[in-house]
Symmetry: C2
Subunit: 811 residues, 2 copies
């Protein structure tokens, strides 16, 4: 069952009913000001940090679901409604919601009034614009009243929902002309405020929630809307809101437009006040003026369109498969931008409280984003590396506002260091910018303790070398990529963090997964050293990598697949000898990606085992059999009901690793099949089962042990976005950035006859046509650049602004 359709030309997903199985959302904003908006206009916005600087109040897990946002009540005689259906829920004569790139547009009608509301965050603008267009489709004049509504958060989202004994006394606002200023705590230490204004004089306003809504009313029936008149309330220490009353008279077929701006302003401390107690509104007025006309708003929307057009042009495919093309060309790249911006902080499943940017997460997210705006990836790399300790370990998370490591969770996730190497090398392969390795970067954010970025990578590499266990495999620490496999923590009391409980020092659980990563990423590190002319460094590192390769073969293979780990007592995890959790997905992916067991024939066996034991109609589950009871020597993984999350759920993030691994043994059909199963455009028809948005990846799909097998959760913020993007573009379609340029090396389903790619890379454009007349999965017969055959698979990348015509013949 579908709830909408893709409009590929306009790069939109068009939702045709407000009653989607979950709220289906979109993100607005690209740099510092971000918004979440659902198909009923629910959601909130924040400046830089979803926890510390939240602008609108949102109530997660509410009844009704998703009832707070930016609403426009249309009062038409005694009737009133809201264009997004929620919160009033009056039946609409027409409804569509278009989620586009950086904007959302809701168009609906009732009683011959058409409302067309466009929400977006203009480029270089710290605020949302709400363009409201109203059309009278009847044959008589309509006298409408429009009531806007937003509810402000008192900035710190955690404090806002717990510290009432203080917060009920702090709310303050100002009103001037048609602009309502939310200035809670500006009187004290804050130097920022929010505002909500409209570009024409208003006929009334409210700023106090109780006056507008009524204590025992919901947003479905606010007092002011029922009564048809604002009260002019000024909020004092209760819940500040902003509502404008606008009288709109429309002749038949007439359209009128209102432009609302919901903005955020920071003032210098010296310039906080206009006069005693009156805030300095200069910047807000400038913002109101900047977006004050239809022309300005139209231009800003056009600028946004061009911005995305340019970004997406860095990778474009034309194939026989529209579902593939729309994911690669539009939605997967779009999601990669969002995951790069948000990490795991704020979505409809992530409350924006308690998790900042992840060290591991952010390094992976940039894999899918680096080709869009390499400069931002560069800055992110330096920010991340600054939180690393000198021994190579790292804070697991850091706060985006302060860029400081998060002490609550600390470090000890022993895969973290390696992801930094992968992220940096991906950046260098995209840009050729080896200079980044010489950047001086602090350790633990200490400006007096700095080293080159390369020295950070070396610390990362040797953190693994220096932390190996009894079998010579890497110590796992608190956890590796699988945050829920906690082999050294042994928590037995509720409320303890599975990850940070206990003292893993001296505990010797080892990870075959990190071993696979070490071989995969370590070999890249060796190449990097060679390229820097550090031959000795390279040889030394290579010896460690080769040693690890052998160790995995000897100690990390269980006969038919790679082991997952050894626990703190030296017992095998992910082995035939286990009763539950006999086989895990992660090491099969990363070990084969690293090439381990290829020549020994062990890789193919391992991947066959994955297919045999872990595959389902909806994707590959994390392990089998699921854990039916809790094991304190395994930790959080065994805390979930079977089939959910890490306990044998389809944790999408790791599925691409198997697809990549399959290309290593040239099984293109299987690789694409794995890709396709979790790719949302292919799941659109089963949206009633899948439930989350059909245009973005979700973190998890319930596994075969779950009663709700196939139901997805935690959409948007998942490393799946980046990994499935590089899986399809680099490992399957085979357009791989490398140190010296693009390499062409597809591994595709045999049935495919070919496809076309446009790739912008290092300031050149490659128009690549790949033909597969012999229907192979793998193998290049010949590559022609501008009509001339070239040796090897690497494309030239000299000069700038060149357009290369590349013709590739598989066979």
């Amino acid at each position: 069952m579908k709830y909408g359709y893709f409009n590929d030309k306009r790069k939109e997903y068009v939702i045709t009913t407000p009653k989607t199985p979950y709220p289906w959302i979109n993100y607005l904003g690209n740099n510092d000001f971000f918004s979440l908006i659902s198909n009923t206009a629910g959601g909130y916005c924040f400046y830089k940090d979803a926890k510390l600087r939240r602008i609108l109040r949102y109530r997660y897990n509410n009844m009704p679901m998703d009832t707070n946002g930016r609403y426009f009540y249309i009062k038409d005689g005694e009737d009133y409604w809201t264009p997004g259906w929620l919160p009033v829920k009056k039946e609409l004569d027409a409804y569509v919601c278009r989620h586009g790139l950086g904007y959302t547009r809701i168009t609906s009608s009732r009683n011959n009034v058409k409302a067309d509301v466009t929400y977006f965050v203009p480029l270089h603008f710290n605020g949302e614009v709400h363009r409201v267009q109203l059309t009278n489709e009847s044959i008589t004049t309509k006298e409408l009243k429009i009531f806007s509504f937003v509810e402000f958060c008192l900035w710190d989202a955690q404090d806002d929902m717990t510290n009432f004994q203080r917060n009920l006394n702090t709310g303050e606002v100002e009103v001037e002309d048609s602009v309502i200023y939310h200035k809670t705590e500006y009187r004290e230490r804050r130097n920022h405020y929010a505002f909500y204004g409209v570009n024409t004089p208003c006929d009334g306003f409210d700023t106090d929630r109780e006056s507008f809504v009524g204590l025992y009313n919901g947003l479905d029936a606010p007092n002011v809307v029922k009564d048809g008149a604002c009260t002019g309330s000024i909020s004092h220490g209760w819940s500040p809101i902003a509502s404008h009353e606008m009288h709109v008279v429309l002749k038949p077929n007439e359209t009128k437009e209102l432009i609302f701006v919901l903005g955020y302003v920071e003032n210098n401390r010296q310039e906080k006040w206009e006069s005693k107690g009156i805030i300095n509104k200069t910047k807000a007025k400038d913002m109101m003026k900047q977006m004050g006309t239809s022309d300005a708003v139209s231009q800003a929307l056009l600028d946004l369109e061009h911005y995305w057009q340019d970004l997406l042009s860095h990778f474009q495919i034309t194939s026989h498969d529209a579902k593939l093309d729309r994911m690669v060309n539009i939605w997967n790249q779009y999601q990669c931008m969002v995951t790069f911006n948000m990490s795991r902080s704020a979505s409809y499943f992530e409350s924006g409280i308690g998790r900042g940017m992840g060290f591991r997460d952010s390094n992976q997210d940039l894999l899918g984003f680096v080709h869009q705006i390499p400069e931002r990836a560069r800055q992110r790399i330096l920010d991340i590396a600054s939180t690393q300790f000198k021994d190579g370990s790292a804070y697991h998370q850091y706060q985006p506002l302060t860029k400081q490591g998060n002490h609550d969770i600390g470090g000890g996730f022993n895969d973290d260091p390696l992801w930094l190497i992968l992220g940096v090398i991906a950046y260098i392969k995209e840009t050729g910018d080896m200079d980044i390795l010489d950047e001086q970067v602090p350790f633990d954010c200490n400006p007096h303790d700095v080293g080159s970025l390369f020295s950070h990578l070396k610390c990362s590499f040797y953190h693994v070398v220096n932390n190996r266990g009894p079998h010579g495999l890497p110590l796992i620490g608190r956890a590796d990529w699988n945050d829920c496999l906690n082999l050294n923590c042994f928590s037995n009391e509720p409320g303890e963090s599975f990850q940070t409980y206990g003292d893993p020092d001296g505990r010797v659980a080892e990870s075959v997964f990190i071993a696979g990563m070490f071989v995969y990423i370590g070999n890249m590190f060796v190449k990097l050293c060679e390229r820097m002319g550090k031959e000795e460094e390279a040889q030394k590192a290579k010896a460690y990598v080769d040693e690890m390769y052998d160790t995995v073969i000897q100690e990390g293979y269980d006969g038919d697949w790679f082991l997952r780990a050894y626990d703190a007592f030296g017992e095998k995890i992910g082995s035939h000898s286990n009763k539950e959790g006999q086989i895990y997905i992660e090491p099969q992916g990363f070990c084969v990606m690293a090439g381990i067991g290829l020549k020994e024939g062990l890789a193919e066996k391992a991947l066959d085992a994955v297919k045999d034991k872990l595959d389902t109609a909806y994707g590959i589950v994390l392990h089998q059999p699921a854990y039916t009871t809790y094991h304190d020597n395994l930790g959080e993984i065994s805390s979930y009901p079977p089939g959910y999350k890490e306990n044998a759920g389809i944790f999408c993030h790791n599925n691409p690793w198997i697809a990549c691994a399959e290309t290593e043994i040239h099984r293109g059909n299987r690789a694409f099949d794995i890709y396709r199963k979790i790719t949302p455009s292919y799941l659109e028809e089963i949206s009633d089962i899948h439930k989350t948005e059909p245009y973005v990846y979700s973190q998890m799909i319930a596994g075969k042990d779950a009663p709700t097998h196939g139901e997805a959760k935690n959409s948007w913020l998942t490393g799946t976005a980046a990994w499935n993007f590089i899986t399809i573009t680099q490992w399957i379609l085979g357009i791989k950035p490398d140190f010296d340029g693009l390499i062409i090396d597809p591994c595709i389903p045999k049935e495919w006859g070919g496809f076309k790619i446009i790739r912008k890379y290092r300031n050149n454009t490659y128009r690549i046509t790949i033909e597969n007349p012999q229907h192979v999965s793998k193998g290049i017969k010949k590559i022609y650049v501008d009509g001339h055959p070239v040796d090897g698979a690497t494309l030239p990348s000299e000069g700038t602004g060149k357009i290369y015509q590349v013709d590739v013949l598989m066979g």
Copy 2:
């Protein structure tokens, strides 16, 4: 304007409309299992700890306000309604809510169906009982369907509302017979579950919120109720709820009863399971059985009534003033029990997250509770003292579940130690139990570092002596009683805690308030030492107290009133020399209570200044003038808008100190006037202005600088309850427990002709009649005990079980 009335005979407040200015609430439960319930049945319950072991989910600050609770939907044909009005909000033909002592009863009717629902927590029972009585008041048979509804919290209230990426996958339930078991995380480290059952077979059930309510519905219109049939849903990793469908056929005038039990069970780890994956339900079944019949429930209600009757019988007044009597005899004592149980953790204004039991709070709360159940006060004292450090300082808060000090806030609140002395002495004066002083009590919860309770008190006393500043006054540390006067912290960045920011070590701000406390409580400590035969200890302490007295006179008086403090730079706070904050309430109260300035004539001047500068129609504000801007050298106090909270609000807790002080200068009329202004029974008629419940004290009433002057907030959990109880009973009515027995020493309005008291004390009963024929405020002419005149004001207290007839003649 009133929204109900007092029924003194039944000890109830009877609310006659569901549309109160705020939800008006009641508490159920006395020991480990507690519930909050509003006049519309909203609220939640928890076991011991409102943060860590929450049983029902509640949404604070929601729209509509207060929409989650224990609801019974009555489906009568196509119509449906809820007896508490919310959440359905169908108009009721009749409605009353009776908040009684430990129970709440909502009786309403619609369409000739009467519903009478009684909610209570039986004594020694870890659960709520909901007795639902339905009567057909029509002349035809009614076929009704009843749908129960509660929504479970996933135990940790903080995690429950932030950690969705995990929580949406963990929910689990079981259903057996008519009982729904909520067992989320029981599979792993928890050994407790909750259940909701009914005493007769049900006709259907739901356990999954989305199935019952519908994703985009509110609780005003759940799908199941609209459709008239439960779906039998089993919750899998989404929001677990419990709903029973009950078919009830009622003949004309027939009444039927259903008994629901919402319980909490802990099992030993060895006995967690009945069989693999099936929880051990033995205890739940026992609880269901225990409350399974009408007779059992009636008896449990009767037991509860007797329990309260006995507790309240320890202090009963009969006067000419019904408002006074109902506060002293019923509501103030009831609130004292609640503040003793809750500290500041869970109310409709305190979210139950982030604050445990306060060291200072709990010591004060027990002042108003110790006469009810001294044994519990004794245990609390030992718990509190165990969190003290050896230097006398203390954790500012501790968690009730673990009884460990709270590291987040730490210590450094330099008044904290003294409150322990006050609490212990209050306990001894009530009970005569000097043995408590020999109890061995840990320091910092370390069982290997213990000392007698007396040694703890000595540490408290000398913590002040050892921490004095440049003027010889006590150092204030992070703050004293006024948590918001932060003289050593200097926070300038939003998000920093005003209390814990900065390093106050070496900073020398001093508190005149603590000085007053030290003289007041220090003199008690001296007497205690004497009574223990520790003459040398007493003399040494007395010298320090006298020295402090002189210091206050010399350095702590500002000409017309007591200074509040010296800041970190040695500047005066609460002085004529200040522009704002010239006079503060707190030191005027405690210094005069300590007797400072009485003989010098300074006390009367100070209290006159309070009346002149701080008094208002609604109580005495904290200081004047209010701070109009933020001062980092003052801290949080200056962060609030003028008139709210500590920034010149009427912070009720400190008003009684002025009333007590007035009795020291024998101004009985003034003392009672101060008492009366903040006492809720006298505010019932202005409930529309006051807004909070007219039967309990609130923490704060907006001051004269606030636009909403007279509006109260933060009802129930405030030290005002204990302080105004001892103010009226001990300082005004003058029935003072002392080391040797009860002292009679009233200070009353001159107009009063007398009053009668029954006081149970040290296992005897005193029937006291006080007559004031000459209309004095103060002064005892003669006291007769059992007809015989006695010397002095101390009543005999020998033996047990005696009834003394005491006749007191003032004059």
